[in-house]
Amino acid sequence: SLTDKLELTFKRLRGQGKITESNIDDALRDVRLGLLEADVHLKVVRSFLDAVKAKAMGKEVLLSLTPEQQFIGVVRDELVELLGGDYQELDLKTAPPVVIMLVGLQGSGKTTTLAKLARYLKNEKKRTPYLVPADIYRPAAIEQLKILAKELDLPVYDSNPETSPVTICRQALDEAKKKFCDVLLIDTAGRLHIDEELMAELSAIKAAVNPHQILFVADSMTGQDAVNQALGFDGKLGVSGVILTKLDGDSRGGAALSIRQMVGKPILFSGVGEKLDAFEPFYPDRLASRILG
């Protein structure tokens, strides 16, 4: 793990006498390697190393009796800060129904996550969610969300795959208002950030129902492409928050840093399993530990 590597490096450095600025570079090399192996984007690694170097060159590290602890501390603090510091609440402060739209690439976990979010809002936040299946392309996508809604005993719009997603969302919003539901949760089809037509569809849905939150759902095992995805979705549509899925695996989750850096919006939740209760707030310090190993 990165922590193990750093401890070895500092042991070796101490063997060579006192820690100096030039051999802090050895430790920074370990960090670079560790972050790249953890799937942090190359450009994000560079700016991260600059920030760490600036802090690590201070007396606290160089004159410390346990410089590796100080150095690891600096790296950890910098990771936590980059990831947003403390956990953040999902902002729901707008006139009901609060419209929340989930977007992202194919297979990232949007449909499952939407149901998890609905369950969370109902149980933890005492809200009355209304679910909208707006994926008319994937076979049985509408059916998938309907089954999950039924499992949660929540209302779900009876989407017709022959109608456009924009129309589905407009009609669903009217339905939600009639039922006095205070949150409208929209599931969209997975799409590539480079698919002009499908990205335009998201902009059209946004214009039609004016979402208070557009949450980018990203697979935590994503590699270097995370930056392209985040820039694409935020650039073409605007993202107000991020949800990371499949954190119950053993991927290091470096994509979280890349996405947070590029989008600059909070990572709000973590998907930690396939069941609908496998959902929790995103904790920056936990992901920092995961990356440090």
Binding site: L33, L42, G107, A140, Q144, D219, Q224, D225
Partner: protein, 280 residues
């Protein structure tokens, strides 16, 4: 993009960056860069175009050199059984739909098995693909034992004189021991019904996956002896470079690539095109 450049440190650094950003990974990148640096011409006057060509050759060699020859000629047994597995959301069900259509268009009798009895609307999804490809699907109610569906699928394949049997399984993270055990049980059921089957065990891998792809391949290879890989979603901006380490370390070849969501979007893997696309 590396046309008309000097064979200098700056160009070498940029090559290294491209490899990292293609998810080739640090270890495989270092190996490839070492190979490249050893081939630097003495007078250093060559153009970057040659440097790029040498790097691409090194990558194709790394891909081809590590592949172990297939044990059986495709479709040399009947039914020819292919088991699909992989982590959640990578494209297993969609890939089965595409391959089913290809075999049907080749005049083969194809049968699908809805072995994902866990996820909401999983068998409905495979059913829709079956209709699209014009082939039958064996399925049970949601929550059924996946081994039971697979058993029924094997029986149906024999009684209906099927040429190709494609078996879908639920997505599962390689870290979940009980789910890996479930896969092992499914393989035993298949082998018991037809010695030698499954003839192919394909790990479906998402091209957007980073270095965790190598760990997925290691665990699935060790527990279910995968014979090949399908690399999906190469129509995006991700390059799928992790398969270079996978092929090098485990010798498992990539058989197909997924390049879209439609039925015709499945192509056989070609190392040279893959490496060329990596640098585009």
């Amino acid at each position: 993009i590396f046309q008309n450049r000097q064979w200098d440190e700056k160009s070498l650094d940029e090559m290294e960056e491209s490899l990292i950003m293609a998810d080739v990974g640090v270890k495989a990148t270092d190996k490839l860069m070492q190979t490249l640096r050893r081939q630097k011409p003495a007078d250093g006057e060559d153009l970057g175009q040659e440097m790029s060509a040498k790097l691409q050759t090194a990558m194709v060699d790394m891909l081809r050199g590590s592949v172990t020859a297939p044990k059986l000629a495709p479709l040399s047994a009947r039914p020819w059984v292919i088991l699909f597995l992989g982590v959640n959301g990578v494209g297993k069900t969609t890939t089965i739909g595409k391959l089913a259509a290809q075999h049907r268009n080749d005049g083969k009798k194809v049968l699908l098995v809805a072995g994902d009895t866990f996820r909401a609307a999983a068998s409905e999804q495979l059913d829709a693909w079956g209709k699209r490809a014009g082939v039958d699907v064996v399925k049970h109610k949601a929550g059924a034992d996946p081994s039971a569906v697979v058993f029924d699928g094997m029986q149906a394949a024999k009684s209906r004189n099927v040429d190709v049997l494609l078996i879908d399984t639920a997505g599962r993270l390689h870290t979940k021991v009980h789910l890996i055990e479930e896969l092992k049980k499914i393989r035993r059921v298949i082998a018991r019904e037809q010695p030698g089957a499954p003839h192919e065990t394909l790990l479906v891998l998402d091209a957007t996956t980073g270095q965790n792809g190598l760990q997925q391949a290691r665990v699935f290879k060790e527990s279910t002896d995968i014979s090949g890989i399908v690399l999906t979603k190469l129509d995006g901006t991700a390059k799928g470079g992790v398969i270079i380490s996978i092929q090098e370390e485990l010798g498992v070849p990539v058989q197909y690539i997924g390049v879209g969501e439609d039925v015709e979007d499945l192509q056989p893997f070609d190392a040279e095109s893959f490496v060329q696309a990596l640098f585009e």
